[in-house]
Structure formats: structure tokens, C-alpha cells
């Protein structure tokens, strides 16, 4: 575990274990924060560029004279970040100030502490909790509270509508997602993230890797239910009704500006990564290489984990330019009338499958 390794490296570790523990956690937290920030900047750049290519444009290029956005617009996200820091911080006079200020904290911390249980490779995991995946699902829904606080605290009709819709959507989609994860746990028999990945070593059916998605037909369906519910939980298009800009301005975040808004933005991208990472861990073999026995070391583990997760993030960006936005009633009926029954059937399917075959 990373914390223990760090504590061994710290020179005064033996004398003051509590202080060394704190220092180790501080290093981890700073690393995770830095990772989120860099990844978010990359993802924003990627989103702008990928969106542009999908629409047959080139996106930010910066070929002008004087201040411009660097080669191929690479400095565009940096410029965005600087702009957000320099923005005036506005709290409307009519808003509930305490709730308004609290909301970005709650939303960001929900996404931030999920990273503590993500296994980046064989050894790198901040805290390998024995209830890892359960913890991530539980903490992931903290963001709902933040969004409701933002929606209610702003005292703005757009915000209220956005917050309410967002809450209804996120809590609804949590259920198919959690039920899909249960099918994984039934196969692995452990809630630890590393344990789930360990289970997926080796090959199945000669050539296919022994990932849970290939384990049986029901897991195959469960992966898609989980991933689509995950996209809905992140409020990404085509499920972005809570912040549908053509009807609700910016949903729950209408009144936010500057850094406060930036933290909502940051946590949206962080949550996308968390959902992708959980999908990778639970269904796509985590840091296991696709060809069993080759490319297996810790470095490769990190490469496979990041590769799979970032590919799923890319798929989320791809969704945005492929599917039109759903209507709010369609959104709810898909969740409760399609995904939920399928997820329940999946549980029975996996149970019977593992009783007969496994």
C-alpha cells in the first residue's frame, strides 16, 4: 500500500509515526489533487478538440500575432484556468450564503475522496479499503447533496429546477449502477478493489482475458448498464437535462462564477474519471493486461489502467456528439422501466449461471 511505503521513506517515521502518517497522507492528497487538475485540463483540451474534429472544425489553433493559445491551441485550457481565477466572485444578495458557499466543497470532496480507493496499479492505491467498491459508490452520491445545496441555496428558479432534476436523475441511476456492481461482487466474492482485479487474472476460453465482462452473458449486459448509468450520474450528454443550456441556462450552477464554478467543473471531470475507473476495475480487468502473461509489470499496470479508463472517458465525450439529449420523462422511464428490470434479471442470471457452471 502506498501509505506504508511512503511512511518507510520518511526519515523521522520511526520516531513520530502519527506525524509520518499525516505527512504520507498529505503527499497522497496533493498528488491526487494535482492529478485531477492536470487530467481536467487535458480533458477540457481533449473535449474541445475532439468535439471540433467530430464537427469537422479544427478547434482552438492560435495562429495569430501576439497573445495566442500556443501550438495547436495547447495553451487554451491554461488560459481558461487563469481566466477563472481572475473572475469576480459573485454571491447574489438574495441567496442563502452558507449553503451557496458550502455546495462546491461538498461536490468536490465527493469526487476527491473517491480517488483514495482507486487502484492505479498492483501497488499504487492510497487506501486499499476492504469495502472499496462499496465505499466509492457511497461517496459518489455525496455530489447529489452538493448539487441540491447549490440549487436551493442560489434562490434562483433555474438553479432550483436544475438541482431538483439533477437529484432525481442521479439517485435514480444509482440503483441500476449499484445492482450491476452486485453481479460483479457475486462472482468475485470480495468488495476490495484489488481483490476484484486479482480475480480477473489469466485467460478464459483460450484467448479472451478473464475479465468479468467476458465471464458470462449477464456480466456483458451489466457492464453496459453500469456504464450508461455512470454517464447519467455524471450529468453528461445525452443525460445533461439538469444543466440543459437551452432550457435551464446552467442548471444548478447558474449563479456560480469564477473559482466556485471551476470546482463544479473540475468535479464533473473528476467524476467522469472515477466512473470510468470503477467500470475498468469491475468489468475490464483493472490493471491486468489484455494478453495474459505479457506486459505485466507495475509500469504496464499503470499504463493499462489509465489507458482503459481514459478510453472510457473518451467514449463519454464521443456520446456527446452522437446522441441527442433525452427528454426528462424519457430519461426517467429508461432508468426505472428498462435498466432496473434488466439489472434485476442480471442478478438472477449471474446467480443461476454461477450455481450451474461456476
Amino acid at each position: 500500500m502506498t501509505i506504508d511505503q511512503l511512511m518507510n521513506w520518511i526519515p523521522f517515521g520511526a520516531d513520530w509515526p502519527a506525524l509520518a502518517f499525516f505527512a504520507a497522507v498529505l503527499v497522497c492528497a496533493l498528488t491526487v489533487f494535482l492529478f485531477i487538475a492536470v487530467y481536467a485540463l487535458m480533458a477540457i483540451y481533449g473535449e474541445v478538440k475532439i468535439s471540433s474534429f467530430m464537427q469537422d472544425k479544427v478547434g482552438p489553433m492560435g495562429q495569430g500575432v501576439g497573445f495566442h493559445a500556443g501550438k495547436w491551441g495547447l495553451l487554451q485550457p491554461v488560459a481558461d484556468a487563469v481566466k477563472l481565477i481572475l473572475k469576480e466572485d459573485i454571491i447574489p444578495t438574495l441567496a442563502d450564503k452558507k449553503l451557496f458557499i458550502m455546495a462546491p466543497f461538498v461536490v468536490f470532496i465527493g469526487a476527491f475522496i473517491s480517488f483514495a480507493a482507486l487502484p492505479f496499479n498492483q501497488h499504487t492505491v492510497v487506501s486499499d479499503l476492504n469495502i472499496g467498491i462499496f465505499y466509492i459508490l457511497a461517496v459518489g452520491s455525496l455530489s447529489v447533496i452538493g448539487i441540491i445545496l447549490a440549487g436551493w441555496g442560489s434562490n434562483n428558479k433555474w438553479s432550483l429546477y436544475g438541482g431538483m432534476r439533477s437529484a432525481a436523475q442521479i439517485v435514480s441511476y444509482e440503483i441500476p449502477a449499484a445492482l450491476s456492481i452486485i453481479t460483479v461482487i457475486m462472482l468475485t466474492g470480495t468488495l476490495s478493489m484489488q481483490g476484484i482485479i486479482e480475480f480477473q487474472k489469466g485467460t478464459i476460453w483460450v484467448i479472451l482475458p478473464n475479465w468479468i465482462i467476458f465471464n458470462n452473458p449477464f456480466s456483458f449486459i451489466a457492464f453496459f448498464i453500469f456504464f450508461i448509468s455512470g454517464v447519467a450520474e455524471c450529468n453528461r450528454t445525452p443525460f445533461d437535462i439538469p444543466e440543459a443550456e437551452s432550457e435551464l441556462v446552467a442548471g444548478a450552477f447558474t449563479e456560480y462564477s469564477g473559482m466556485r464554478y471551476a470546482f463544479f467543473f473540475l468535479s464533473e471531470y473528476a467524476e467522469m474519471f472515477v466512473i470510468s475507473a470503477v467500470a475498468t476495475t469491475a468489468f475490464l480487468g483493472g490493471w491486468n493486461s489484455p494478453i495474459s502473461g505479457f506486459f505485466d509489470g507495475p509500469g504496464w499496470g499503470l499504463f493499462w489502467f489509465m489507458g482503459k479508463s481514459l478510453f472510457l472517458v473518451f467514449v463519454m465525450l464521443w456520446f456527446r456528439w452522437t446522441f441527442p439529449r433525452l427528454r426528462v420523462d424519457q430519461l426517467m422511464s429508461i432508468c426505472w422501466k428498462v435498466f432496473l428490470p434488466f439489472a434485476l434479471v442480471n442478478i438472477f442470471g449471474v446467480a443461476i449461471w454461477s450455481l450451474i457452471i461456476g
Binding site: 438574495l94 440503483i175 422501466k337 442478478i347
Partner: protein, 136 residues
């Protein structure tokens, strides 16, 4: 064990600090030219009309209730799923009974129309709503 969750607890505290510091930096460098109009509630440029703290649509409440039931179910399923392979058929039958009861509940709510976001089945009786009856 205590160390695992101690890490999480410290992560929460450090998370608060890590959000607070950028906000503080922004506070130091950002302009502060507040005018009453700037601080007013945004409503597409119009003067805002009344407070947004109003009684809200009941359909959100029903969804929340259904969510609560299923979330408790999910929490109960997690420990069962961990030991499912060891316990085998007996555990499966027990959980199947539990799940079937919940599925019946889902079917009831579905039939009752509480899963529909727009409730066409409500018969308003008169006026312009009388025509939107029975979109089954």
C-alpha cells in the same frame, strides 16, 4: 483498519483545504466592483420575480421514496453478494424470495403510474385537460 479510514478522514479535511486555497487566491487577485444589479438574481435579464423557495412538484417526492426502498435493498444485497458463492443454493433461494417481493412492488408502482414522469392517467375532468386522457 483504523488507518484505512483515518486516511479517508484526513482526505476529507485536506480536500476542504485544497478547495479553500484556490478560492483564497482567487479572492486576492479577482476584481471587486460590486453593484446592486450585478448581485441580483439572474433571470434572463428581467427583474427577478419573487423568491425561488417555493413548494415543489410532488413527483420528485415519489421518485425519492421509490429510490429509498431500492437503495435499502441494494445495501442489503452487498453483504449477501460477498458470501453468495460460499452459501450456494440456500442463499440464492432466500434472496430470490426477497427480490421477488421487491419486484412485485416495482410492478405495482409501475402499474399505478408512479414511474411516469408525466402522468397522463390523471383525469382532470374538465377544461383543456379533458382531452389528454388515456395515453396508455
Amino acid at each position: 483498519m483504523y488507518r484505512d479510514f483515518g486516511t479517508i478522514f484526513l482526505f476529507i479535511l485536506l480536500g476542504i483545504v485544497l478547495v479553500y486555497v484556490p478560492l483564497l487566491i482567487s479572492k486576492l487577485v479577482a476584481p471587486k466592483k460590486y453593484t446592486p444589479d450585478k448581485m441580483s438574481t439572474y433571470e434572463c435579464g428581467e427583474e427577478s420575480e419573487g423568491s425561488a423557495w417555493v413548494q415543489f412538484n410532488i413527483r420528485f417526492y415519489v421518485i425519492a421514496l421509490i429510490f429509498l426502498i431500492f437503495d435499502v435493498e441494494v445495501v442489503l444485497l452487498f453483504p449477501w453478494a460477498v458470501v453468495f458463492k460460499e452459501l450456494g443454493l440456500l442463499a440464492f433461494v432466500e434472496m430470490a424470495i426477497f427480490l421477488i417481493i421487491l419486484t412485485v412492488g416495482l410492478a405495482y408502482v409501475w402499474k399505478k403510474g408512479d414511474l411516469d414522469w408525466v402522468k397522463y392517467r390523471v383525469k382532470y375532468g374538465r377544461g383543456r385537460y379533458s382531452k389528454i386522457v388515456g395515453k396508455e
